[in-house]
């Protein structure tokens, strides 16, 4: 299995995976939230990571290990049957203008990359999310972060080699619609599930 030249990968995120994570952040506006990315290396091009789904994890106490461990076990278990695995991590900071990757995000990113070395961290970009409502945003409202040669996480700039792409170009339009209709009220995460197992972290029917 090789990578694109110099480890420059394309991360292609599907509409559902993308929107689910943003809606989750909007449901818990006053907290930091996180989630995992699910997918695989593209069978057609091993320089592309396909992020086909996502699972929103927590909206409180992100730094605790037991709920995280249980989640990762359950999520891997579920998706392995579809030939998919956990391929990355999503994080949204508590504060609007906080663009740093915190220790928790890096630790979880490190853990995931032990199993999937190309795993990225996607960080919610609040300024872009705000611009979305003004219809001015075409690119994903997330910041791509990858591990560099010295194994440190760094934010990928516009001129960086790796790229985050929206698989469906209309994803931001659909996202804006959902935000207007307050769809974020319907998103369930693993935190909700652990408090009440009838709540399904797979969010079936969210986009019906």
């Amino acid at each position: 299995m090789g990578m694109g030249s110099n480890g420059e990968l394309k991360y292609e995120i599907s509409q559902n995976a993308y929107i689910k994570l943003v809606l989750h952040s909007l449901r818990h506006k006053t907290a930091a939230v996180n989630g995992v990315l699910v997918g695989r290396i593209s069978p057609k091009d091993d320089g592309v990571v396909e992020i086909s789904d996502s699972v929103p994890l927590f909206h409180s106490n992100l730094a605790l290990l037991p709920p995280l461990e249980i989640s990762l076990i359950m999520i891997e278990e579920h998706y392995v049957a579809q030939g998919l695995s956990i391929v990355g991590y999503f994080h949204a900071n508590e504060r609007f203008d906080d663009v740093e990757l915190c220790g928790v995000a890096k630790n979880i990113g490190d853990h995931i990359s032990r199993y999937f070395p190309q795993a990225p961290i996607l960080l919610l970009n609040n300024k872009k999310l705000e611009a979305l409502s003004k219809g001015k945003e075409r690119s994903p409202v997330m910041q791509l972060c990858v591990k560099d040669a010295s194994k440190n996480w760094r934010v990928v700039g516009a001129d960086g080699g790796s790229k985050l792409l929206l698989k469906e170009p209309s994803a931001n339009v659909i996202l804006s619609d959902y935000i207007s209709s307050e769809k974020w009220k319907d998103v369930t995460d693993v935190d909700d599930h652990l408090d009440d197992v009838t709540k399904d972290w797979l969010n079936p029917g969210l986009f019906n």
């Binding site: 290990l65 359950m74 203008d97």
Partner: protein, 303 residues
């Protein structure tokens, strides 16, 4: 903190009010009593009462409490115009009031005028050095400015004065956790367990922190606190049951080099099987489509 019964009651009332079934004032009172943050709903329903002269006068003196509640909710939703109006009404009714002064300072916070807000709080504190709400707003400002260490410092000083404030201990624990300062967070939960030993959530949180710090001794302790949580909740807490299973697996892993007697002393196989069985039973009853998944997950945690 809110119990499940209280939350259900609140949600039912909320649905009723949302569907124009009346009960807005009861809803607003309940939100106030439970100290829950539902600012959009409070703003919507509170405003509709305040903007209706008949409903407003029907409240009598409660009108002013409602103004305060709506002002705070409006600030949370960044509807600063509404907040300003409520505060003006309160200023007119209670000129020179310190309680209104607090709201004015809160509005400065909402506008992002941190320096002015800090000054306002400092001067309010001069007259009321023991006003708990003002101390806490200063902690909140530090948090908002992205200075968690300052927030921790302020909150620690606050707790030296008001050591019975459980919410403050919890907030401090969460601040420490956000900085991954697990031992300090553990200390906070220890204080909470000492002062309120029958509240299961503190035992659960403490267990989670101990497990996260790691090491055989801590995980054995964590298991005890998960067990205490199960005891206090009549076996109904899924997180605690899963915690037992995680501990069993972790202890087994960490004990690999040890001899058999040591391993047997730390293992608690019946506890583990009972916890796993309880989890499966719960999923069978309430989330049968996830039963296979959780059984598989539990199997992977078996020694």
């Amino acid at each position: 903190m809110v119990t499940k019964t209280e939350e259900t009651q609140l949600n039912q009332l909320e649905i009723q009010v949302d569907n124009a079934g009346g009960g807005a004032w009861d809803y607003l009172c309940l939100v106030r009593d439970l100290k829950i943050r539902r600012s959009e709903k409070v703003l919507k329903h509170g405003s509709s009462i305040l903007n209706d002269p008949r409903k407003r006068s029907a409240l009598g003196p409660d009108e002013w409490t409602l103004n305060e509640q709506v002002a705070t909710a409006a600030m949370d939703c960044q509807c600063l115009g509404v907040a300003q109006n409520c505060i003006k009404a309160l200023q007119k009714k209670f000129p020179g009031s310190k309680r209104v002064g607090r709201l004015e300072a809160l509005l400065l916070e909402a506008k992002g005028l941190w320096g002015e807000a800090e000054e306002a709080y400092s001067s309010l504190l001069e007259d009321n050095p023991l006003d708990q709400a003002i101390h806490k707003r200063r902690v909140a400002i530090s948090k908002a400015l992205g200075k968690p260490s300052v927030a921790i410092e302020l909150l620690t000083k606050y707790l030296e004065l008001f050591m019975a404030d459980h919410d403050a201990w919890r907030e401090l624990a969460e601040l420490y956790l956000s900085l991954q300062m697990y031992k300090q967070a553990a200390f906070c939960y220890e204080e909470l367990i000492l002062s309120q030993p029958t509240v299961p959530l503190y035992h659960l949180a403490y267990a989670d922190v101990l497990y996260t710090i790691g090491g055989v001794e801590n995980i054995i302790s964590a298991r005890k606190y998960y067990a205490a949580t199960i005891d206090l909740t009549g076996g109904k807490n899924t997180r605690a049951l899963l915690g037992i299973c995680l501990c069993a697996s972790a202890i087994a892993q960490l004990s690999k080099g040890r001899n058999k007697e040591d391993k047997d002393a730390t293992a608690a196989p019946e506890l583990h099987s009972l916890a796993a069985a309880a989890v499966e039973k719960e999923y069978k009853q309430k989330a049968p489509d996830k039963l296979q998944l959780i059984s598989s997950a539990l199997r992977s945690l078996k020694i």
